[in-house]
Symmetry: C2
Amino acid sequence: MKIAVDAMGGDFAPGVAMEGTAQALADFPDYEIVLVGHTAKLKFYLEKYGIAGHPRITLHHAPEVVEMRELSSTSLRSKKHSSLTECARLLKSKEVDGMVTAGHTGATVAATKVLVRTLPGVDRPALAASMPAQGGRFLVVDAGANTDCTPTNLVQFALMGEIYARFLYKKDHPRVGLLSVGGEDVKGNDLTKKVFPVLDERVPNFVGNVEADTVFEGAADVLVSDGFSGNVFLKASEGLAKSTIYWLKEVMLKNPLRMTGAKMLTNAFRELKNYGSSEVIGGAPLLGINGICIIGHGGSTPLSVRNAIRVCGECIKFRLNEQIVESLQNAHCTTAELAEIERRDA
Amino acid sequence: MKIAVDAMGGDFAPGVAMEGTAQALADFPDYEIVLVGHTAKLKFYLEKYGIAGHPRITLHHAPEVVEMRELSSTSLRSKKHSSLTECARLLKSKEVDGMVTAGHTGATVAATKVLVRTLPGVDRPALAASMPAQGGRFLVVDAGANTDCTPTNLVQFALMGEIYARFLYKKDHPRVGLLSVGGEDVKGNDLTKKVFPVLDERVPNFVGNVEADTVFEGAADVLVSDGFSGNVFLKASEGLAKSTIYWLKEVMLKNPLRMTGAKMLTNAFRELKNYGSSEVIGGAPLLGINGICIIGHGGSTPLSVRNAIRVCGECIKFRLNEQIVESLQNAHCTTAELAEIERRDA
């Protein structure tokens, strides 16, 4: 099993990616890693983390890097040999079974869509982000790969998310909910109203509309959304979580009694912070691409990278993509089969 | 100045609405209140809160109540004499200058749209919810009145929100941001991309695209959005805030040391909770309706109702609606003037 790791991706590249790779090599003896990046720049870190000349490492040279501030739409054309593009090329040519990057999400979506293409029967790929709920977790699909979606896209996001949730949450029958503005069946916007009956008919364990607040109470295991609202959902949560920490500090530092109390809760706050952390999962898969692609947070730690590599390997072993193709076929939800629904609605 | 109060609206009606009304009458000597509800059922509370026969109270009988679980689309037809509908009728006939309800948001939007209609030049009304940011607050417009929006709607939401933010936050030049999935100008979905140049040209202090996380750090005073994404933003925040309290309790009750620390922070946590509370503002105005309409949270307390009545009165004094009409005219953003943009985009 071969996995390409974008050594130049992420805010702390290449150090973090290299250290994470070293951990993965030590922990997963059946993984082979292709390190993609500026080889001259990687040498120092290969030595530093004791993996220079490691039998399960191959180096693949990529002279350029897509910076976080670049536009995803132009990065593919302007940097034809970025570490990201090279990872996608390796995935396309099947020289690797999967790729891991903590780089530019939009550019990764663009590069894999254009170079690797989607799975047979899949129209658009979707980013599946795992978030904490009371007493569990849930997946947001799509968390931001597509800003404008069709009913076909949402039906496929639901099925792809259902398969991934089976793997990630070890649940046989994950409940799939549609992100909407009211719990009743008839609530929502044009898109959710159109897709609701199709989800109801073709997606197993469809629990109907789910609101953005009740999902945190465990209303669904998979939250299906267009990538715009899904991204708003994800970022609003991240933003509020960060601000809550800011506000907590503000109120806790107001007098010595509170400061003492806060000190006694140091470990509790650390545990709380871990609830929201993506370190354990390492990253979000881009579901529907013809090859496993795991996208880590820009601020990934070595442990995140190590776990993104682990998840990538596990998805390969789980035969995630074969299962997605099968599920879409069984539910009669390939793009061609859903074309009739799109026509009916037009 | 006359304000209609929906006595039957909210989870704890009519008690909470009546107690809030009593407080408002005591605190604001120039407010006259028309209490709308089942008069026989109100008598007990009029006595209880010492406002029976109060010279500034009028009773207006409404035999029906729109329940929270009813569909907004059908509530207007099925209950022609609900307290909500009667409030809207009083507003339409100018028997009152404003109305306050803690009842069904969707039904309020429907009733006021159909009965009271929008202001001259305004296509659709928008719910403006005030939320906490680090070191301040910001408005989400639209927080859920319209699930599908046109560029015209978003431009008008921006201008209406800008006027309301001037009043609410006492800022001369509130910064207006467009909720999107990336900070760069070209990021977003079809709607945000279409409306961006119009906002840029016609809205004062337009700061461009704002992401759902950075707005909590104070990126904008007004966050413009279609009502679907705006509602997702609002509810995701509410849901995460609630879950954070749940998780906090979970980690703090794990051992005696932590429990002691938590006790020392009781007041700090109470202050933190107040950051998110809408009690001070009392409710969200439905901007663009031809009459002031303030919608409180279903779980409103007497203080929320009292403050919603206060805000309603202040909006009337501020001549909010006259200023909105003026602002739209000055910016050449009435529905008729924006029709050209809609055509250009079609």
